[in-house]
Symmetry: C2
Subunit: 261 residues, 2 copies
């Protein structure tokens, strides 16, 4: 873990290719983002796809065509400021570089989508124990049977993350997360996993399996920022770049600034 709480300092290390792992816990007061970079011919449809599916794909930043800077989110150069990238051609990963200087071109458009780390901090501050954080594992994530609303070539199923919670903490987490619509908002489901097409709660498709469900704990599901990667895999644009899951873009925006009230 990169235990640096200042976002500028953290990005400096990442920018110099001195850190290539997950960013959970780094600059934890600050918003981290999922990254999707696409050729401009896809950008109108992808932007609309995000707008139509705000729970899995909450758009928090958008770069100008050909501009690697994201001034609204901080002193950011998207070519270097992510610990590890994925380069995709027609839905297949062809490279996982530490920077994308050699892939960048004047036609690319950058999309930054909100991430669950921004709501986990206020949950913890409200006294809710988050199992995967306590156990230092990756949150379990599942493919569901829920269709995203399609736009042009962009379509596919929603991915969800899951946290085991008591009934009381489920209610509190819905109350808190509903104030954070730009980072997935309130959970989309709780209880019976089968209702959203999750067959085996102990076998997530991404991340680590849950440790256990205590006494009265139930599974609580949030729309997940891994969804767009599944959409890109299925929609097969000629070319695109994303972050490697877990290796997020660290911004200068405070999580608390995302709260709607």
């Amino acid at each position: 873990m990169l235990n640096i709480q200042d976002p500028t300092e953290a990005r400096k290390i990442i920018r110099n290719n001195q850190y290539d792992k997950q960013t959970a816990g780094t600059a934890s007061q600050y918003v981290q983002g999922n990254v999707c970079i696409l050729p401009s011919k896809y950008s109108a449809n992808f932007a609309t796809f995000c707008k139509k599916n705000p729970k899995p794909c909450p758009l928090i930043g958008l770069g100008a065509k050909g501009d690697p800077k994201l001034r609204d989110l901080g002193d950011i150069d998207i070519r270097t400021d992510v610990p590890k990238y994925r380069v995709w051609k027609k839905g297949k990963i062809v490279d996982e570089p530490l920077d994308i200087k050699k892939y960048w071109n004047e036609d690319l458009v950058t999309f930054i989508l909100g991430c669950s780390m921004s709501f986990e901090l206020p949950l913890i501050e409200a006294g809710i124990e988050i199992q995967h954080i306590k156990n230092n594992t990756t949150v379990p994530m599942y493919r569901t049977s829920i269709d995203c609303k399609p736009e042009g070539q962009f379509l596919g199923k929603m991915v969800v993350s899951m946290r085991p919670l008591s009934t009381k903490d489920t209610i509190t987490s819905i109350e808190i997360c509903s104030k954070y619509p730009s980072v997935h908002g309130a959970p989309i489901h709780f209880g019976n996993p089968d209702e959203i097409g999750v067959k085996d709660i102990m076998k997530p498709e991404y991340g680590d399996p849950p440790i256990s469900f205590k006494n009265n704990e139930i599974p609580v599901f949030w729309a997940c920022g891994v969804t767009p990667q599944l959409i890109l895999e299925k929609s097969k644009p000629d070319f695109c770049i994303t972050h490697k899951p877990g290796c997020m873009l660290i911004t200068d925006k405070l999580n608390s600034d995302l709260a709607t009230s």
Copy 2:
């Protein structure tokens, strides 16, 4: 049902003792209140009790000692403006009059507490079907094992109201109700009734039994404004006056003004 949507008009009829039944659906855009009137020697403790138990006892209005007017809530005279009252002596009901002119005195203090009708309207507007409203029955209410936080002589268990909802509607109702802290706020529990000491969901202690639980519906429980009557029954003040359950005070305050954001 008194189908009048203007609160002043509705109160005029009630004031003239021309209506003595429940007020559900009357002036439905406006806040209705639970009423507790106590001798001044109890008022400090009861006010603190309400402040300590905001979910069952959300204080939305407080009269000056001896003053039957509640100017903050509208052109209200608490001696005449409730369809039916209950007069209590040492925890027992001794009268159910249409007005309390003969009981009023210079030592009484009026407390008005928020009521679930204020959050049911935004739930319906969000497309959620409320079973007891659709079937024109009274919401089922249950005594629980949850202790209110005591203050002086005021203590006892919380009463909850229950509405059967799908998982999806449960999440939406938590999101909406968390914006209405002054009318019981978010539900306090859902799912297993036994966890809060409710033994038989089909046998509520107050109101009508639920009709049924459809497919994926679960019981969702809100703190209930009947709680203070149970507290008064148990705490046995020498003398007090309440409304008869269901026969609420209609105010000039809009429900929408209660939303926190």
